[in-house]
């Protein structure tokens, strides 16, 4: 592939050591807390937002892990910490075996070429005063890739790779539609020839007809460039399209993780079940047949997360034990883990997502 070859020649070769079977990304007991100062009339109070509160996940090379959850569950904080934008409060983020928080700045800068992030909103993540060429080429300048003379050709290659016309290189972001802007953001992320790309809600700001274009592009790029993805999304249906493994977060914790089929078809956690049942399916027959689980209340504040299981305040099957004892992540089936005392009880009733579901 010419695109890949062009990029390969300029980007840093990955370490030289053989790509082994260890996960490319290994997150261990990660905690990210944000101190906040609350001011009142009589003074201030120091409090802590427990955005991510002890999660572990691993992603193998070439794999896509979907991280789903509602707003405030810590999924974006996780994604940003993984690429070094936040420092972990505790725990480790191991990229290719190296703890990115413990690296000296210069080594981290070099390692950064190998992991990149695409943000949700291509309207605010692209500088409106920079042309597409400058936006994409910026990565080459920062990471000292290629010579100034070589860079325009590299930019053109990248634009072609993501489905943009290279003759539009001098245009500004406002001249593009939302979908095209997201393509620009993807091109920017790919400029350093990364191995891991964190996709933070990459399609939630674009329309459905464009959304499927972007999902196809991401799947295609993964195959062509051998990328590893961490896909962060709130939309379970979107996650199901390109992820082989899925982790569900609730209030700073992972509540369930497994293969797509395990999480979709043998759902264990009551929260995952409620989340599934809340997503409308564009098929009146399915909608009529479904029994919707409507949760009461809303996600509690991550400043004072509830004791015991964090979901117990909204859980339809919460028992006394759930209020006092925090459930550990256990593994009832190989590769399928859940943090719930009563998962077996929860999993007895079928969800009825469809009468017949083609298994993939």
């Amino acid at each position: 592939m010419s695109e890949e070859a062009a990029l390969q020649s300029s980007a840093a070769a990955p370490d030289g050591e053989a790509r082994d079977r260890s996960p490319l990304l290994d997150v261990r007991d990660l905690m990210v807390h944000f101190p906040i100062q609350r001011t009142t009339f009589v003074g201030g109070r120091r409090e802590t937002v427990h955005a991510v509160d002890g999660i572990s996940l691993a992603i193998d090379r070439g794999e896509t892990l979907g991280l789903v959850g509602e707003s405030g569950c810590g999924k974006s904080t996780t994604g940003r910490t993984v690429v070094g934008l936040y420092r972990p409060t505790a725990g480790q983020v191991l990229f290719d075996g190296r703890d990115i928080a413990a690296l000296p700045p210069e080594e981290l800068r070099l390692l950064r070429r190998r992991f990149q992030i695409v943000f949700q909103d291509p309207f605010s993540s692209l500088n409106p005063r920079m042309t597409v060429g400058a936006l994409i080429g910026e990565a080459f300048v920062i990471h000292k890739i290629g010579t100034p003379a070589e860079r325009p050709a590299l930019v053109a290659e990248l634009m072609k790779l993501v489905g943009l016309r290279p003759d539009q290189v001098s245009r500004y972001p406002h001249e593009f539609s939302g979908g095209q802007r997201q393509r620009i953001a993807i091109a920017r992320a790919l400029a350093t020839n990364p191995e891991l790309v964190v996709l933070d809600e990459p399609v939630s700001a674009v329309d459905v007809s464009v959304q499927s274009q972007i999902l196809h592009l991401l799947a295609d790029l993964q195959q062509r460039l051998g990328l590893t993805y961490l896909l962060i999304a709130h939309d379970l249906a979107v996650v199901g399209t390109i992820c082989r493994r899925i982790a569900v977060m609730y209030l700073g914790k992972i509540v369930e993780v497994g293969t797509r089929d395990q999480v979709y078809q043998s759902t264990l956690h009551p929260y995952t079940r409620a989340l599934f049942s809340a997503v409308p399916v564009p098929d009146p027959a399915v909608e009529r047949a479904r029994r919707r689980i409507i949760l009461s209340g809303e996600v509690p504040s991550p400043i004072n997360p509830p004791p015991g299981c964090r979901f117990h305040t909204r859980c339809p099957i919460a028992a006394e034990r759930c209020r006092v004892e925090e459930p550990a992540l256990r593994e009832p089936a190989a590769g399928h883990r859940v943090a719930c005392h009563r998962a077996e009880e929860a999993a007895t009733t079928p969800l009825q997502l469809a009468a017949d579901r083609p298994g993939t």
């Binding site: 095209q180 007809s209 274009q213 399916v281 564009p282 209340g297």
Partner: protein, 343 residues
């Protein structure tokens, strides 16, 4: 749709007397860049107690249609043609003072963004009091009592306490419940919900949709639900109108639309929505290209440049509205061939 050689004189609006009858409604925004034809000869009708879904992508004219019905388009927008009959009477013939008594009282709106729609300096109670006083003349104790009732109807916990809360002290879901309480406070005959759950999380969205469903059933309100989410339509609406580039391109009952879509855009749209009950990227089809710029809408059918069935006629003549079955209308020259589009 004036040129359409259609069997009935008012094909979109045939049937029993309607709560709302929109006929050939057009509206445009007169911007410095040019005239944005946001709503282009839109026609539909709505019965009492019925829920009509208006679906389309951003810029298809869904919200502009709602604002045009209420004669409430922001500057530089203006209604440029057509008629709107509300309970048999023309809304456009009424003076502005009369419209003010209709808006919020007989036709109420639930907007998408509750944060922008609530005054940050007013408490929940003050918001409700204002509506109740202006439209129903209630004040003091009577208004207070009614407000508490309304907040419990919409499922806000601790209604007495919430009356004293400011918008920023409530979550997004709670604010949307307050918006719905305000909208139903005068028992409107028509409720227009414009993307009421787009800003909310999935589990909260399910709560709010359930609330809208039960309220519209209980109050027998005619409801227009504007959304880009075909899943919401499948669960909640009796009939569906699909919009593209300012036009209604297909109208049918919910089951008919999903089982037997006749417009190529509807067919394509249904196939590019990721579905929970299907996995893998292969199930997802894409529509090539993007919706047209509404300042320069191509001649003929606006979908023609992206349409797999487009023929020469499609790029020259705006498609006639034709009946595709009972209560099923589509504006496509090749509607008969849509069934052949691969599924």
């Amino acid at each position: 749709m004036a040129v359409a050689p259609t069997p009935a004189p008012q094909p979109w609006t045939a049937g029993a007397p309607s709560a709302l009858d929109v006929r050939d409604l057009s509206a445009a925004f007169f911007t410095r860049r040019g005239v944005v034809r946001a709503v282009d000869e839109v026609s539909f009708s709505l019965q009492t107690g019925e829920t009509l879904g208006i679906v389309g992508e951003s810029g298809s004219g869904k919200s502009a249609t709602a604002m045009a019905i209420l004669r409430d388009l922001p500057f530089p927008g203006r209604v440029t043609g057509g008629e709107v009959y509300f309970q048999g009477e023309s809304l456009f013939a009424r003076p502005e003072a009369a419209m003010r008594r209709i808006r919020g009282r007989q036709i109420a709106m639930v907007p998408q963004d509750s944060t922008a729609s609530l005054n940050p300096l007013m408490t929940v109670g003050e918001h409700l009091d204002e509506v109740l006083q202006v439209h129903l003349g209630l004040d003091g104790q009577a208004a207070r009592q009614r407000s508490v009732e309304l907040l419990s109807v919409v499922g806000l916990p601790e209604p007495e306490r919430r009356l004293r809360a400011y918008p920023h002290q409530l979550s997004g879901g709670m604010r949307q419940r307050v918006m719905i309480a305000m909208a139903i406070s005068c028992r409107p005959a028509l409720l227009i919900a414009d993307e009421p759950t787009t800003a909310l999380d999935a589990t909260v969205q399910a709560q709010i949709l359930e609330l809208i469903r039960s309220l519209s059933q209980e109050l027998r309100t005619a409801t227009i639900l504007i959304t880009h989410n075909l899943g919401i339509v499948a669960g909640l609406c009796d009939r569906v109108a699909v919009m593209y580039a300012g036009r209604v391109i297909e109208v049918a009952t919910r089951d008919e639309l999903f089982a037997n879509p006749r417009h190529p855009y509807t067919v394509s749209l249904l196939r590019c929505v990721p579905r929970l009950d299907r996995v893998g990227v292969a199930q997802l089809q894409s529509i090539p290209g993007q919706p047209p710029d509404l300042i320069r809408v191509p001649p003929g059918c606006a979908f023609a440049p992206r349409c797999p069935l487009a023929s020469g006629r499609c790029t020259r003549e705006v498609p006639a509205v034709t009946a595709q079955g009972e209560g099923h209308l589509a504006a496509c020259w090749n509607a008969a061939e849509t069934g052949g589009m691969s599924r």
